[in-house]
């Protein structure tokens, strides 16, 4: 693997780190398996691209607006679940499916190229380093900043309530926490992060595409599972690091797999490799094999 490829992998790894933080919030904190991200990732891309190209918005404002719209999508999923008792997974699928059509509307077609326009990455062009070197640094800073904000949020009264709502809903209610509201905001925030990732992804690769959401849920989940099964995750601080590291490691693993000529894989095999890696991580997690963690199953009981 060349340096160029390595930096490219880091770049996408950091972008998907945002998706992983969202997946951590829904799957681990709220215990709400959320499939909306399949739609909110391209939604973020579509909104950002449309605002930049069609409405001529400032790229930073467009990116922020895309996150906000992602929040609305997540809120809609949680609303279907909380208000109408629709199974969480089904609610996510319904919203994701409808977002597919919505994205086509937003972009007025299946994709929206972002060539020769100002993106958030244009701001770093004057630094004298090529984009493939500076973009991963910028994205790394973004994902670390989001991680720290999320850590801080989860330590506030609200964040603590969200953790209780996911871990022990009966206890949370008995302590005056509106569990339904916590789901609405939590799933909203997670999809806001996913849409932010989508918006940044589109700006790096020069286009938003209606199909770019396929497999995002697996990537997010894979990052969380891979990260948390090989790194310590006792505290929120460590767990969010593990999620980001998981996203980067997962991207590296995919890149290595696709690069290994003897395996004979093509770029189109990426989804299959992804699914295989997730299954492998889950199997390893169940059989209690871990690389850096000491075996402490007995101590847990």
């Amino acid at each position: 693997m060349s340096l160029y490829e390595l930096l490219g992998t880091l770049e996408t790894g950091f972008v998907f780190g945002l998706v992983a933080l969202g997946a951590y919030l829904t799957f681990k904190i709220l215990d709400f398996p959320d499939l909306t991200v399949e739609g909110s990732f391209p939604l973020g891309a579509a909104v950002a691209a449309a605002m930049i190209v069609q409405a001529d918005w400032n790229p930073w404002a467009a990116t922020g607006f895309a996150s906000l719209i992602g929040f609305v999508a997540g809120y809609a999923t949680a609303y279907l679940n909380v208000r109408f008792n629709i199974l969480h997974i089904l609610a996510g699928i319904l919203v994701a499916i409808s977002l597919y059509s919505i994205n086509l509307r937003i972009m007025n077609g299946p994709n929206e190229p972002l060539l020769n326009v100002t993106t958030v990455f244009s701001a770093f062009e004057d630094f004298g380093y090529p984009g493939y070197m500076i973009n991963p640094v910028f994205l790394g800073v973004v994902v670390i900043a989001v991680k720290l904000l999320l850590d801080a949020f989860l330590a506030t009264g609200w964040g603590m309530s969200m953790r209780a709502a996911g871990a022990n809903p009966a206890m949370a209610e008995a302590n005056g926490i509106n569990v339904g509201n916590m789901k609405l905001y939590g799933v909203g925030i997670a999809n806001g992060l996913t849409a932010l990732a989508g918006a940044l992804f589109a700006q790096i690769f020069g286009a938003a595409d209606a199909y770019m959401g396929i497999g995002v849920i697996i990537v997010g989940l894979a990052s969380v599972i891979v990260g948390m099964s090989i790194l310590p995750s006792r505290t929120i601080f460590l767990a969010t690091i593990a999620c980001i590291a998981g996203a980067v490691l997962y991207r590296l693993a995919v890149a290595v797999a696709l690069n290994a000529d003897f395996l004979g894989l093509r770029a189109s095999d990426v989804q299959m490799v992804t699914a295989g890696l997730v299954a492998l991580a889950l199997i390893i997690q169940q059989s209690g094999v871990s690389i850096f963690k000491k075996k402490n199953k007995e101590a847990d009981k």
């Binding site: 506030t156 609200w158 603590m160 953790r163 022990n168 206890m171 209610e173 302590n175 005056g176 509106n178």
Partner: protein, 264 residues
């Protein structure tokens, strides 16, 4: 303080499994009273508690607590006024959070939660002081996850958490049933002292007749969804478990068939 007026609860209504759990309960618990509730399985005692807590919706009738008509209030809205200790020690606390974080949640019951950090030095000192009174050494383990504590310790923590802030009403749902006898006695002891110290209005559901008679100041018994007797004052002080059984036989004309009520 607590008023139940003609409360009816039916589970699985209009199905072959229809069960009439409560058939018109009228109950008035004055302020500062410690009421114990007894009854066999399916008698309706837990359902009555769940109606007060807001978990079981009343099909008919009304509930007042203090100055509020809470009949249609959701659980979380009742929380500032009513707190609750569960039967299962795992239910009352959040095992992934530390002792301190759990208390921070409990403080949120009566104080609004916000975007400030949940745990601050003031909470830390208050919690350490209250835990020290238990003499379990928990004040030195504030940053331990609650999942590391034993059942009895968790139940003691739940009890302290349920009595933070300006809570007036404490509901205890067989909160010693899942503990070994020695620990159960310990938890009951701290229950008594906290209820007295904070002059709470308390309702304790229990499976043990002896516990029901020796704790608190009034005992009621549920049977088939009705309150079949209600004793307090001197009559109650003189009562033994056998007297309770005679009373039951006289009221119902049948022998009490639930062994678990007699044991313990």
């Amino acid at each position: 303080m607590i008023d139940l007026n003609n409360i009816h609860v039916t589970f699985n209504k209009d199905t072959p499994l229809e069960t009439r759990a409560l058939r018109g309960i009228d109950l008035h618990v004055p302020r500062n009273q410690f009421l114990t509730v007894i009854g066999s399985n399916g008698a309706g005692k837990s359902t009555a508690l769940n109606v007060m807590a807001g978990i079981a919706p009343a099909e008919q009738g009304s509930l007042r607590v203090g100055e509020f008509d809470m009949t249609d209030w959701p659980v979380h809205k009742r929380a500032p006024y009513i707190s609750r200790v569960f039967q299962d020690p795992k239910m009352g606390t959040c095992e992934d959070l530390t002792i301190l974080e759990n208390f921070a949640l409990a403080f949120g019951r009566t104080k609004p939660r916000g975007f400030r950090f949940a745990v601050d030095p003031a909470i830390r000192t208050t919690v350490a002081d209250r835990l020290a009174a238990l003499k379990l050494g928990l004040e030195d383990r504030l940053n331990d996850k609650v999942g590391l504590l034993s059942g009895g310790q968790r139940q003691a923590v739940s009890l302290l958490m349920a009595t933070t802030g300006e809570t007036q009403v404490l509901l205890l749902d067989e909160h010693t049933a899942a503990l070994d006898p020695k620990t159960a006695d310990f938890v009951l002891e701290i229950t008594n002292s906290i209820v007295k110290e904070l002059s709470l209005t308390a309702v304790m559901v229990t499976h043990s007749m002896a516990q029901a008679l020796h704790t608190g100041d009034r005992t009621i018994m549920f049977h088939q969804g009705r309150i079949i007797f209600d004793v307090s004052g001197e009559t109650r002080d003189k009562m033994q478990v056998e007297d309770l059984l005679h009373l039951f036989k006289r009221e119902q004309g049948e022998e009490l068939a639930d062994d678990s009520l007699l044991l313990g």
